[in-house]
Symmetry: D2
Subunit: 386 residues, 4 copies
């Protein structure tokens, strides 16, 4: 996926200053395949912090901002202004920032969940629809090679008609009230003002939901959810149980938790059809178990032998089988595909391919909204308000 002679895409960043986690991830992902050059940023609304961050990253000081609107305005006017911007702020800032860039034709690569509320998400979608610029949502787990493989296998009918979907995403880092200690990540993620009304359901439940949707291609008919807050004083949910009814009769369960002691980042997806089943876990993402009914289960690996990984997995793989690729490689695959899409767009061809976009973002927000509504109504079955 390494650059093949094309110029690097000029990238800006909103958020991601000192002490942030996901900003650094975006930067490493953008660099891995050499398709982007980070040339501008509003790394913080605190000017000093933004300047320090820009200096550390080697950004020309004249292109370091403390205000994303000013950044959007100026970069849009510059001859060598940014082609795209990565938005890596807390959730509530995604929409206001994205809007400024979309309006000016600058492509947006935005962290998920899309916004802090469903109405805001729909409004942003309307803005995006009017813009010529691309909107890419970094649902990074969709770019794991074996997730692409799983998706291909479902689509090819290797599993037959899908019956059951089990997806889970347990973590344990919010087992105690660390937001009370000022831990930065915990603070904003448990603050409804910055994170949105959903806590665990927004932070990781949306990932689980998106992954199930991405792999199976099944639409959701209804869900019944129970959101729980176990840690005293916490203002958002920290454990999420959802029953899922998919179009066509498939049934599913989704569990996300941030108080499940012993789990670090246990995203796992299992899908069962009338001809086969698959099993994948994020913490060892290089393998996918495929059990054809009536035959021994097979361990398919990224770039592995034989009837193993196919074209979809290959397209997002970099190194030979047995050399583990991880989280950053999957994230970088999204960036590489974003680069392809931006180049294609410049050439007048639309090519989002498998990239998650604004619609996925709106659906994620609708999922959060539906879980909150169902849970507040004692688990009543509800549909997504799309």
């Amino acid at each position: 996926m390494e650059r093949q002679g094309q110029p690097r895409i000029r990238l800006g960043m909103v958020g991601g200053g000192e002490g942030a986690f996901i900003g650094g991830v975006h930067r490493m992902a953008a660099r891995l395949d050499d398709r982007f050059a980070l040339v501008a940023g509003a790394f913080s609304s605190d000017a000093d912090r933004s300047n320090r961050s820009g200096a550390a990253l080697g950004i020309d000081p004249s292109r370091v901002y403390d205000d994303f609107t000013a950044m959007a305005k100026r970069e849009a006017r510059l001859k060598d202004g940014i082609d795209a911007v990565a938005i890596v702020t807390p959730n509530h800032m995604h929409a206001p920032a994205a809007r400024e860039f979309l309006r000016r034709g600058i492509h947006v690569i935005c962290d998920k969940p899309l916004t802090a509320s469903l109405p805001e998400a729909k409004k942003l979608a309307a803005t995006a629809a009017k813009s010529d610029a691309l909107f890419i949502l970094t649902h990074n787990y969709t770019a794991y090679p074996m997730i692409r493989q799983a998706r291909e296998m479902v689509a090819a009918g290797d599993l037959g008609r899908i019956r059951v979907v089990q997806v889970e995403y347990p973590q344990d880092w919010l087992t105690e009230a660390i937001e009370a200690t000022g831990q930065k990540q915990a603070s904003w993620r448990t603050d409804p003002e910055r994170s949105g009304a959903g806590g665990c359901v927004g932070d990781i439940g949306t990932h689980a939901y998106n992954l199930a949707r991405f792999v199976t291609g099944l639409g959701l008919e209804q869900l019944s959810a129970e959101l729980t807050t176990f840690v005293e004083g916490r203002r958002v949910d920290d454990n999420v149980a959802v029953m899922l009814r998919f179009d066509g009769g498939a049934r599913g369960m989704l569990w996300a938790s941030q108080v499940a002691v012993g789990h670090e980042n246990g995203l796992r997806l299992r899908v069962y059809g009338d001809r086969g089943g698959i099993d994948w876990a994020q913490e060892n993402p290089n393998a996918l178990t495929f059990a054809p009914f009536g035959e021994p289960p097979r361990r398919i690996t990224r770039a592995g032998p034989g009837a193993g990984a196919g074209a979809g997995a290959g397209a997002v793989s970099r190194i030979p089988a047995g050399h583990p690729e991880g989280y950053l490689e999957a994230f970088a695959a999204l960036y590489a595909e974003a680069a392809d899409a931006i180049r294609a767009h410049a050439a007048g061809t639309a090519a989002m391919g498998l990239l998650p976009g604004i619609a996925d973002g709106v659906e994620g927000m609708a999922f959060i909204d539906a879980c909150l509504r169902s849970s507040s109504r004692n688990g009543a079955w509800v549909s997504l308000a799309l």
Copy 2:
């Protein structure tokens, strides 16, 4: 657990003739520790079949019956009549058979689920209450050493206050309509007349529920269930999703399926408290993962080192760590404990210990009943009708 000089308990069997599965399991379990001698049986209501089975097992022909009532009557009168009977028929015959023996003071060791319906279960419980004889239900998974260990750890507070319980039991043997081919096990288990109204929920859902209850000790407040039948023409459910609300605020999810391709007998229990989490899977039952919050997870093995397996696990272990024990050993542990209980009873001391009894059986039936009620009411939250 081998016999230590006590006489063997005289055991009869109802069911378990040629072609049966669970009858042979009970017999191996009863023999392993040499605490029982099988001396009588109504192995089938077909006299020829029963006689052939009795002959194969070396039973005195005069004590082979084709009718459990006749068996109960005669054995109760014999000087060396049976002390206990194992009932290993399809579910609908458990109650009529058990009644005959309980009435005559013969101890009953009965397969689960207890009966084919909740009212019948309660009636049987009333009979049992009036009888002096013991009633033991073979919820065999409760006797795995690491399940005993898990129970001890929860009780000792190693996990802190329990928050989340995740239990699942996927299989795939009913992925296709094999009951239509006459397969014996599938035929009766999918026949509401013989199995009861619950299919998958009764056959394995009850095991999952019982295991969660046994380990956590938490009572169930309410459940919301969705039972699905995926295989066309099947008369009972083959996939079960349940949300659980436990007393004291813990939340749980239960999934049981007989159409989950790739799973053989995937019973798995995970419990999370505010201080630790545990994870156990039946297919490799000799280990239990224990994650104390903020410390690396530990792999505790049966008879393993150090702060590993405690007294509860030791009491149901036979061989040193690293030599795997399996399903039959756990089943045999129940039989050994049943022998202890029967001896204690003879000596005038009541000692069911951890043995599952009639109340567990009634609760299992109430669980099935509640799942059916909730599912028929679109997943309404219901309580067990105990």
Copy 3:
């Protein structure tokens, strides 16, 4: 494998009194399928101990002995004397005891290693050759269903021509000098007078060697060994490294250790041919990984689906796939096959089938001897002195 109408074989036991480990294993194994009745025993050379053990086991006091010679003499004369004897003493007593029974036409089921020295093994083999009685060696790991499966697959050519054999058997129970504390098992196993000159190499190295031979069917051309004693004051080896040259050019490595911290009973066998490879580990014995070259590896389970486990595995399986069978079940399979062989012998047909016999025992002793010779000559390549 349960008894099908045949009378039980009358079994005696030498050794296996109070506090022993392997005696109880033999008894459970003999009981599981109801093919044997334990009716006599010289459980200890201490009369009181032997009597207490006999009483605990419910043996007729007149058939409890403190001297195996007396036992052999009398049982041979009794009308209902034993048909077979299980010898479960420390190694140095195997030969003297076995001789007494073989001479009198009583079948011998003997623990391994065969004797305490190679010359003694050859002498015993001569005795066995002259006797009409069967000699069965309990190389119990050969009776695991997936080991039978592996053997069948190699024989069927599924792996192609065998190139590499890797076998290992790490334990950690002798990490410290527990023999100095009087621990019974450690004491005799580290005492050359009772165990033979080989320590770890005899106790578990022979199991590893036997398993490799059993599965591959390859003869050994030469070996080069290094035996080490890590624990100060220990009189035998506690770590064994061996390089193996098999007939036909295959190469192998064998590692056995009793000081490998973290391992309980880590017997593992891997075999690679020019068309496929297999991998099996004793601690989770119900699965076998088979990797056909150029295809994804497959997980074949005991009694599992499809092209999975074949006739050989099925013959030593008792319960459906997914219900784990363990060490005792494999041990019991040897006993069931011993019962078949004894019945066949009585009917005039020789039928050792896959049962390990005296030749395997002699080869095991030759393996120990060769390892000791090679190690004392700085790892010189030596052949077995068969």
Copy 4:
């Protein structure tokens, strides 16, 4: 590890043109933390190929060469010439290329094994000793966080006195004679002219040896090796068995194979001391099992909780626990450390830290040489000719 304001180091590359594997790995590794800028290269000795590669990578055409000597000469004279060069050719070209840059004070980052022969390695070491420039060998597995953790634990005495070291590196990609089909990687790696006399032993045996040395810190006293060529017509070994005697009495075994069907890149290291044991496998590198003697084994993860991963692992980690890091991240960690070392060198402080250097390269070649000598002498014990 991301750049903190320092200028990027100017990097050149020798080799790594179209179709190469390891060149792309070096480039991704160099980019990940933004510490290097690739500004020059002799990507191939074929001028057209080199130019095409340079163009694809966006290198200024005036700094694309087809001759590393010309490159070294010119870059040394340029005002903005390269600070360092990555040498990623087949083995036989490492020394001639490295020499040219070392002589001119340009730091060398070189792939392993160091050279194609031991004498050549020693000669290169002499050159390096005379140069002021740094020489860094990319023994990339040493930079996995959990390998750093393992090394720290051994050094801290957590395992006690080391007794046994088991290291293995099985692959299966050379199971068939793919070099005969012209497969590029296989062709040069099985050609003694380009790869050196060692095949499997040089390609991956050296990695296994280096890893054992890096983690344990133990020097090698002697080894006994058997190298085998299983594939007909192959000119180098494809399976390697080595027995190891370490200083101080520890014993080890090393197995490397390129014909072990079912293995992709199965590097695994186990170390046992008198107080504990560790186990690590490259294909899932984010966890390390640590078994303290007499306690349950613990699963320590990169960036995981509690007494888990320490400072050494943290220094080479980028993202939170549970987000898997892989092969490229470890490779990039070496590059980040190389950048630190180069900056320190410029500031006049020597700071190779844990970076593998020329001495490690010479030792690797001495290991290959010793294995070849021992194997040709029927496994005689030999020492490294350092």
